[in-house]
Symmetry: C2
Amino acid sequence: MIDHRTLRVALLGAGSVGSQVARLLLEHGDDLAERSGASLELSGILVRDLDAPRDVELPRELLTTDAENLIVGADIVIELMGGIEPARTHILTALNSGADVVTGNKALLAAHGAEIFDAADQVGASVSYEAAVAGAIPIIRPLKDSLAGDRIVRIFGIVNGSTNFILDKMDREGLSAEEAQRIATDLGYLEADPTLDLEGYDAAQKAAILASLAFHTEVAMEHVHREGIESITADMIEGARRAGFVIKLLAVCERLPGADGEDESISVRVYPALISRDHPLATVHGGNNAVFVEAEAAGPLMFYGAGAGGVQTASAVLGDVVSAARRHIAGGVGVGESARQSLPTAEIGRITTRYQITLEVSDEQGVLATIAGILNDGGVSAATVEQTVDDEGTARIVIGTHRAREQALSDTVARLAQSDVVERVASVLRVEGE
Amino acid sequence: MIDHRTLRVALLGAGSVGSQVARLLLEHGDDLAERSGASLELSGILVRDLDAPRDVELPRELLTTDAENLIVGADIVIELMGGIEPARTHILTALNSGADVVTGNKALLAAHGAEIFDAADQVGASVSYEAAVAGAIPIIRPLKDSLAGDRIVRIFGIVNGSTNFILDKMDREGLSAEEAQRIATDLGYLEADPTLDLEGYDAAQKAAILASLAFHTEVAMEHVHREGIESITADMIEGARRAGFVIKLLAVCERLPGADGEDESISVRVYPALISRDHPLATVHGGNNAVFVEAEAAGPLMFYGAGAGGVQTASAVLGDVVSAARRHIAGGVGVGESARQSLPTAEIGRITTRYQITLEVSDEQGVLATIAGILNDGGVSAATVEQTVDDEGTARIVIGTHRAREQALSDTVARLAQSDVVERVASVLRVEGE
C-alpha cells in the first residue's frame, strides 16, 4: 500500500521539541512512511544559529537560516519556533505555497488563529496543532473529530504543567511557594521569565484554543478571565487540605445558556480553584496535564498524560504530520476551522460558582451575625461556616457558599472586606469539579 | 463553507445505540451539516420488525426491512445490528457499492476485521469503528491518528463496563458475586445471557481490536488469552482490599521484545488482576471504562469515560459519521488498515508478570520452608510472604512474587497445589499497573 511518493517536510525550529521531531523523522522513517502512505523527507531545519548547541545532534547539512527557500519547496511545514513573528509570516507563506502546516505555537494560535485558519481554508490546506495544548495528550483531535457529532458543554482541566508541578510540591511536601518555584526552575519546569506560567498566560492561551474549537467560535485572549498562582500561599494550600481539597490551576471553558434576556454565551477562564481530593483531577501530580470534556451525548470524558517535554510533545507533532501527509496524498480537503458560530464571551460576573472565603475577624461577640447579614444582603447563602481561633489568637471564619452568580459573590466579598468586624480577607477561592 | 451536497445515510439497526443515533441525526441536522460540510439525510433505518417497541420514537416512514435497497442507495452506512451475519454481508455490500461504513460491531471486527478492511481498501472506502471499543471514549482515533507517528508499547485498561460494575459493587458494598450480578442484571448492565461479559469474551474482542490497531497486526480471537470474573469471590476482593489492591478485569495488549532466540511478538490477554488502590484505574467506578496507552515518545496517556450506554455510544458513532462525510466529500482516501505488520501473538507463558498466590496450608512446622523450597525450585522469588490463621483455625499463606515468566509462575503454582502441606490454592491473581 506504500505510495512511492515522497513528501518534503520542512522543520522550523530546533529547540527541545523540534530537535526530537527531527530525530524521530530521521530514525523512524520506515514506520512513518507505512503510516503515511508516502516517504517523509526532512528537507531542512530552520535555525537562528547554525552552531548553537542542541539537545539532539542533527545532521549539519540539514540546518539552514534561509527560511524562504526551505518553506517554498516543502509539502508539509512544521513550525516549532514559538512566538508571534516570524512564525506567523512563515506559516502564511507555507499555506500560500500549498503546504500543509503543523504547529505547536499556542501563543500564535491564541492571538492570530482566525487569520491562519482563514488563510488555510482559502487555499485548501490544513493547519494542525495537537502539540499546542496539553503536550502529548490527544485532545485537539478528539474535540475536532471524535466529538464532531456531539455538543460540548464544558471543558475543564489542568493544562499548565509548571504550575501544577509547583502546586503539587507545595501540597505534597509542604513547601513554600518560593521553595517550590526554585525547584521547578532548577528542573527546567519554569523559564527564566516565569511570568507566562505563574500568571496564567500560558493556560489562558490554551483555554482560548480549546474554547474556540469546542464552541466553534472565536475567542480573543482579552476575553479570557485570567488569575495566576502568584497569590497562593502554603497556608492556603494547608487550609484547603484540612477541608478535603487541593488547589489546582484550572482552565474552564463553558457554555452559558441564554436566559433572562441574556444571549447564549461562553465563559473562558483560568484561575486557581479548590478541587475535592476525591476528584480525578486531584490525583494529577507533577508536570502532568488532564482535561475533562463534558458533551451532551458522550457525558464526561477525561484525557490524561504528559503536559510538556520535548519527546512527549514530539509525539503529538508527528501524529499531525502523518495525518497531514495522508491528506496531502489524498488531495481532498474537508470542512475547515472557519465553519464558525460567533458566541459572545461572557464577563466573569455572569458565571455561577461556589466560593470558599477565609476571613480573619476580630474576636468579639456579634461577628458572625454581622457577616451573616452581609451575605444575606448580597444574596449569597452559606453552605458551611467554620470559626476557629489559632494559637496566636487570630480568629478566622471560613465560609463555603452555595452556588451563586460570580458578580454577587465578588460584590459580597468586597463588602465583607469593608466591614468593621473583618480584619483581613485571607483568601477567596472558587470550588470546581462538583 | 457549507457544501450544498446531501449525503444519504443508511442506518442498520434501531436498538439502544441505533435509535439514539437516529434521534441525533434528525434533531441535530444543522450542526452536523456545519461540521461535515454537507447535509446528512437519514435515508432509512433497517429493522427486523416494523412494529417492535423502541427506546426512541422514530418516524415510521424511515423504517424498512429491505436491506438491499437501503444500502445500495447510501453514501454512508451505519451498522449497529451486532452479531456476525447479516451484518458482515451488509457491510461488504455497502463497501462494494461505494459507501463509507461506520460500525460499532466489536464481535464482527474481532472475527472478520481483516476481510472488511481489505474490502474497504480495494474500493477506496473507509470503515470507522470508534463505538466498538469503550463506548463514548475516543480511543480508536487517538490510536490510529494521534499516535500514528509514535510507537505504542502497551495498552491496558478496563474495557467492559458490566464486569467493572459488578467488581466495583463487590468492592465498595461488600456484596457477593451473586448479589452484584443480580443488581447488574436489574439495571440492564448484563444481558439475559451474561456469558459474553462475565467470561471475558466481550473484553477479549475489544482487546483484539485495540491490539490489531496499536501493533498494525492481525490478532485472531483464539490467540487472545481470556479469563473472566466467574471465579472472583467476595473473599478474594476483601483479601485484595486488605493488601491495598482492588480487583479489575483488565485487557492488556503488549509488545514483547525479541530476545534469546525468540522473535518480537505481542501478547493480548484479558484477566482479573490486582491493581494498587493508588493507581488511577482503581478509581474507575460503576460502568465506566478507562484505557491506558503507553507509547515510546508520548509516555503514558489515559482515556476515561462512559463505556456503554445508548446515547453515549451514539456520540462516538456520530463523530465517525461526520468524519466519513468529510472524507466522502473530499473524495480522497488515505492509507488503509491493511498497512500491516504480522507480529506473532505469544503464548501467555511468555509474558512476565507478578503473582499474588493465596494458599490454605496445614498448620504445622516446616510449612513455610517447604513452600519456599518449591518457589526456589521453580525459579520464582517471593517479594512478600504473609502467614495468617483466621478465627476458624485456617492457616493461610499469601505470597507476592517478584516479576517472573508466566510459565515459571504457573508451573510453580501447579507444584504448590500438589504439595502435601498445601490444602487448597485459594486464589492466584496477577498484579498489574506497577
